[in-house]
Symmetry: C2
């Protein structure tokens, strides 16, 4: 096939993909990995630009030290791969459709035959053992079909290379942040007692996909979360058709998305007069956020952010128990985090310029909840920069 048959619309420059591949190969070298099978769709996209909702079937990218990566997946998805990846069409290979959700054969048997055909039957093969979509069965089928290979756990090997964002990536996250701001503005306007939740979600999903100016909106990797009242104790409830009520707080966990890059922003809206409990929690949380932003600087550790946040909360008698943030950037469902660093007391990773996090100190208490969060960028010097520019507070609509 002629690789110039399609007008490819790669999100990033050639230099960016070269940089990513070089970093990944260096990490493979260090880990003693000869061939790396990347099955995390976010890692696949980061390395090759592949973009499609095909991660519900087995697929992957093979990374080699001495040849361009290979995209491997279902036959019908090779059409999407040749249209989106930067590699030549001869680096896209498919497996037959009767491997899909079959009780008789597994796609990893096809992949194993491909690797054997390329002379890699005895390779040290890295796989992402802890990853959505690389099932226990996939691992067993691959291992059984490659008895001479040495399979090594390369979980998060690529994810760690994604930690420090390039200028091109940060530009995408700024576009996502404009969309996040638009969503929050729409919430403040629309959330009123008596308005059904799904109506508000319908409008903010519309806002999210319309985007801002010429920057069209992509689907976020998590749908809007917006529990109210005592349900706000539960961080991951979605929506229903019940109305917002006076006297209840609702937190809104949302993110704009620009070409798979996210900048989450959570805010809480209280309808009516908040009880003192909420006002005290808001004060402590905002103080903790500000202390955390001050601690979020190059050279400090991930835990320094968590510890700075914890102090004012503890003074207010609030013990969270959960981590307070995670790296963000490019992602596919079901998560917009990068699954490397966690902002928690035990994580001593050194913060570096260009790292990006969702600083996410949600309060989920026994029968109420409060979320005020920021997506942040670690800068060359000074406190972290917030991607979004909206008041850091609980909004009260009397």
């Amino acid at each position: 096939m002629d690789q110039h048959r399609f007008q490819k619309d790669l999100p990033f420059s050639e230099a960016e993909y070269e940089r990513r591949l070089a970093k990944t190969r260096a990490a493979m070298e260090k880990a003693g990995v000869e061939v790396l099978l990347v099955t995390d769709p976010s890692n696949m996209a980061w390395l090759t630009a592949y973009d499609g909702w095909s991660f519900y079937v087995h697929q992957g990218v093979l990374v080699f030290h001495d040849a361009d990566p290979i995209w491997w997946g279902r036959n019908q998805d090779t059409n999407g791969a040749v249209r989106t990846v930067w590699m030549g069409d001869d680096r896209v290979i498919g497996y037959a459709d009767n491997y899909v959700q079959s009780t008789e054969r597994h796609p990893m048997e096809d992949l194993a035959q491909r690797l054997i055909g390329m002379g890699h039957e005895g390779a040290r093969l890295g796989v992402e053992m802890e990853n959505y979509y690389f099932s226990a069965k996939a691992f067993m089928a691959l291992a059984d079909s490659l008895p001479s290979a040495t399979i090594v756990d390369a979980t998060a090997l690529v994810n760690w290379q994604r930690n420090i964002k390039s200028a091109e990536e940060i530009a995408f996250m700024r576009k996502a942040a404009r969309i996040s701001e638009k969503i929050v503005d729409g919430l403040l306007e629309r959330v009123e007692p008596g308005v059904p939740k799904n109506e508000v979600v319908a409008e903010i999903q519309r806002d999210a996909i319309l985007g801002v100016g010429d920057d069209w909106g992509d689907y976020a990797s998590i749908v809007p979360l917006l529990p109210s009242g005592s349900d706000a104790a539960a961080p991951h409830l979605t929506w229903d058709g019940r109305p917002f009520k006076k006297g209840e707080a609702t937190f809104f966990e949302i993110s704009g998305c620009y070409r798979r890059y996210h900048a989450p922003l959570c805010r809480t809206i209280f309808l009516g007069q908040p009880p003192d409990l909420f006002l005290a929690a808001e004060d402590a949380l905002v103080e903790g956020l500000e202390a955390g932003l001050q601690a979020a600087r190059a050279g400090n550790r991930a835990c320094d952010i968590a510890n700075a946040l914890a102090a004012p909360l503890e003074r207010a008698g609030i013990e969270r128990g959960a981590r307070c943030g995670y790296p963000i950037g490019l992602s596919y469902p079901p998560d917009w985090g990068e699954r490397t660093i966690s902002l928690r007391a035990e994580d001593e990773t050194i913060l570096q310029p260009g790292m990006t996090f969702h600083f996410m100190p949600g309060l989920w208490m026994s029968d109420w909840g409060l979320e005020i969060t920021e997506s942040i960028l670690i800068t060359e010097d000074g406190a972290a920069e917030c991607f979004c520019d909206r008041p850091r507070q609980m909004f009260v609509k009397a």
Copy 2:
């Protein structure tokens, strides 16, 4: 905790959950499974009514022969579990937050300790080896922590129990179908040359979540897919900000969703005058669909549908290669299929009344594509019933 503290809004009757549990226990008995770990979020919801976007961390439902199921997950998600599951609050247990995405410990180590504490350290434990979200690492961590247990592959054990829908489930799918029809109506109205794709997606996502009448819309398990022109060769591309163009066909793969139940409906819109190639393909495809619907009757086999479809397509010189459908119903991302039966030549499963499928004979050729599909119900006698009522054709807007 008092389980009556929350007003639970269970989607289905008590009898429905009892029926599901009884079917699952019978299948466990047959497979020699003493304790079943269910990690597929669709299976978890089907068995317990649990609903939340928490499947990006490890969680599961334990099914026993002689006690109510246990929901197990991240501590902060127990608040969502006690609000949504039918079991008592003492059947909801959580693990500490520092297990989440940790490089030092795995949540399955916590689950293993729980099982040991319950006296199940030597159990025949069924796990869903081929399932999104039960990672290779999860399996290894569980097996390592339960050396005396016999772990058996119970992939799709629960999925197979979901094949025949109850009247309550079919009622939900009919509501989803009304939403699918509304989405398609909106597409026919809005898709015009020059209109950016993301603008159309924004409006249809709004339609989908607004729902129809009092039936609010839930998020579908797959985002809208709508490739145009030569990109329609690729079944799983999402959208961007480019405009629809005259002279191009776009297929729209969408589904309304009512409380996690789906009724997908795909239609193709051609802007301008379609070439003969398209008109001939449309004729053959519609003939194939009608033949397939006739073959989709109780007592026939899954492959009979595929074979009936294939005949008119082959006469028109079209060879598909891919399966032409799958069971549908309750689902969570990334797939709205149930991953049991496949409508393909090699699948001889007997069709039974109450089975529901997305009859999905997408044509993805080298540089064009066409989708006209139906969500169907196998009835007591006669041809399949279509959930949606929209013309079975390619729509042409001149």
